[in-house]
């Protein structure tokens, strides 16, 4: 499996210039205000933008909101797009930054709700609701996955983004570096630290005798 990904990347490489040319053409049509081009762009990238946002927010509602915001921003700012980065990189960058903004807003709202509830201002829920998962969902695998997701959300933002783009969106190190505007070495370091933290926190699955 270790040699599978570089091999796959090599096999996929020849299609990259073709894709880039198609993107350039799409951007040119968008910049001319072609409605059909915008529809094509949304259809082609909606899945990637939505699932990136979903991976960072773990909420279908929030992910939908972020994805809509991203495409609205694309529509409004496509004139300024110079093509220095690939179209997909730009879209991932927008999705990540919007999702992180939402995440910060959600955390602030949660902190404020906790603060007001502690002071007794609001009759709202005082804390994060306990997770009454169905016993079926507490099966080992699902439990581990749930735990992993919880710890991913607690990682520092850069590590969380790098881990999500690598393991959920299956982007290459180069692509992640482009999205984060950093070097491949920095991405490697972010991923190493993220994996280290996550594996430290995950409990081994209990084995029955």
């Amino acid at each position: 499996m270790a040699y599978g990904l570089p091999l796959l990347a090599t096999l996929m490489e020849p299609s990259a210039p073709v894709e880039r040319a198609a993107d350039a053409e799409l951007v040119a049509r968008l910049q001319q205000g072609e409605e059909v081009a915008f529809r094509t762009l949304v259809t082609r990238f909606q899945g990637r933008v939505y699932s990136t946002a979903y991976s960072l927010l773990r909420s279908a509602e929030e992910a939908e909101d972020v994805a809509q915001e991203v495409f609205v921003e694309v529509y409004q700012t496509i004139v300024r797009f110079r093509g220095e980065a690939a179209l997909s990189t730009w879209l991932y960058r927008l999705a990540v930054s919007r999702a992180l903004q939402h995440q910060r807003r959600l955390h602030a709202r949660k902190r404020f709700a906790l603060f007001t509830s502690l002071l007794g201002f609001a009759g709202q829920l005082l804390h994060e609701p306990p997770d009454h998962a169905h016993p079926q969902a507490l099966l080992e695998g699902t439990q581990q996955l749930h735990l992993l997701q919880q710890h991913i959300s607690r990682l520092p933002a850069q590590q969380q983004v790098a881990f999500t783009l690598r393991h959920e969106q299956e982007l290459s190190y180069e692509e992640i570096a482009a999205v984060l505007s950093t070097s491949v070495a920095a991405v490697e370091s972010l991923l190493y630290r993220a994996r280290h933290t996550l594996r430290q926190h995950l409990q081994p699955t209990s084995r029955h005798a």
Binding site: Y50, E64, Q203
Partner: protein
Amino acid sequence: MPNPDLYSGSEEEWQALLGQLRRQSQTQPQPFFYTRVQARLDAQHATPRAWLPSWLRRPAYVALLGILVLAVSGDGAALQTAHPVTHSSTLPR
């Protein structure tokens, strides 16, 4: 390099967990996503752009701004110089 402090599950278990995570996150938006994006764009076009920033259109901010302008403009100093005059007028002749 194995590290005893880390997840003691095997590499296969870790990879299986990552695979599960990947499958779980391959979600798609609800149908008619483009229509909703279009509606959002139309709504933004329909809203006229205000000539003042939103924070300045709130009375509390306008009042605060007025107080600040008065405080900085030096009216306080003028009031202080006027004070002795009113005080002296109360003195007995």
